[in-house]
């Protein structure tokens, strides 16, 4: 069991799934998002091979209206 913080919300997983699988579960596959893992940008091209690890902190962002 691993525990990962996603946008400040802690979620637990039985196995260390890939970032791509996580995005699929959250229905974010193919959406216009950017992702930061433990303070570093995780490029889109690495979503498939990167596995989540216990204690990871993810930030997933989108563009919204703003001045």
């Amino acid at each position: 069991m691993i525990s990962v913080s996603i946008n400040g919300e802690v979620r637990q997983f039985d196995n260390p799934i890939s970032v791509a699988t996580l995005l699929e579960q959250m229905q974010l596959t193919g959406k216009r998002i950017a992702l930061e893992r433990n303070g570093e940008i995780l490029p889109r091209g690495q979503f498939n091979q990167q596995l989540l690890a216990d204690g990871d902190r993810l930030e997933i962002v989108v563009a919204v209206g703003g001045g």
Binding site: I6, N7, G8, E9, Q25, M26, Q27, L28, K31, R32, I33, A34, L35, E36, G39, I41, P43, R44, E59, I60, V61, V62, A63, V64, G65, G66, G67
Partner: protein, 261 residues
């Protein structure tokens, strides 16, 4: 005469009005206001995505495609240089390597006044990291010059506080900034109505960035159109060169001869 365009980081823009996309009723209104304003540079904010709770959430980038507009991601809500830099690195990843950004580091949540110490620090990091930084700042001419020296591509002083609609409170400081920096000076924040935008342009500012003045108008799309015309009129008046002010005119507009007796 060459076409009068706004040149930022080597790219020419026909419109000198830059607008924000916050505070609109919905994306339809946002899109209509952007269209009516004629703006080519549009600011956006970066925020946490839903994580599965709202899979059909509409996406701003579908309404304002980066192929049609120059999107300018901002760092609104950031109170430290580190948070601003992180936000813009995420924005660059989100927009496929797009490097033109709006930096703003705020000082306190009541006034939203810029923290220039953190702004200077963030600007240094971002420029070194290859960003083209348009920077929101106070109307302090010394800080403005320092931001230019760091390598910022546009200096964007406030006219009055963000969202206040108080207009241009210190035209003299804007003039001091324009006298000192070579890069475009764009008034950002404080415009309340069309005349404020025209005054900024008549002073010689290279552009105006606004959000609330349009979004919080009773009729945002109509105000967007008014702002477009105000910025154009103010720019033309600046280029035309206004007549000197004088208390009395010894020079009537009509001929002094040929009067009937």
């Amino acid at each position: 005469m060459n076409k009068d365009t706004l040149l930022i980081a080597g790219k020419s823009y026909n419109s000198r009005l830059l607008i924000g996309t916050g505070k609109y009723k919905d994306f339809t209104e946002t899109q209509a206001a952007v269209e009516a304003s004629g703006a080519e540079i549009i600011t956006i904010a970066i925020r946490r995505s839903n994580i599965g709770q709202n899979p059909n959430e509409p996406n701003l980038l579908d309404v304002l495609p980066p192929s049609k507009y120059t999107l300018l991601p901002n760092t609104a809500g950031c109170y430290s240089a580190d948070d601003a830099v992180r936000t813009l690195r995420l924005a660059r990843e989100l927009l496929n390597g797009h490097s033109l950004v709006k930096l703003e580091v705020l000082g306190d949540p009541q006034s939203l006044y810029p923290n220039v110490v953190e702004t200077l620090a963030a600007a240094k990091t971002l420029v070194a990291d290859g960003f083209q930084v348009m920077v929101y700042t106070s109307d302090d001419p010394i800080i403005a010059k320092q931001l230019e020296d760091i390598g910022c591509v546009a200096i964007m002083p406030l006219a009055s506080l963000i969202g206040s609609g108080m207009g241009i409170l210190n035209p003299w400081n804007l003039q001091l900034i324009m006298d000192r920096v070579q890069v475009p000076v764009i008034v950002d924040a404080g415009v309340g109505t069309a005349s404020d935008a025209a005054i900024a342009m008549e002073l010689g500012c290279h552009g105006v960035l606004m959000n609330t003045a349009i979004a919080a108008a009773q009729e945002p799309v109509l105000m967007a159109s008014a702002m477009k015309q105000a910025v154009e009129a103010g720019r033309m008046a600046f280029l035309a060169g206004r007549m000197p002010k004088k208390l009395y005119s010894a020079s009537p507009s009509s001929p002094t001869s040929g009067l009937i007796n």
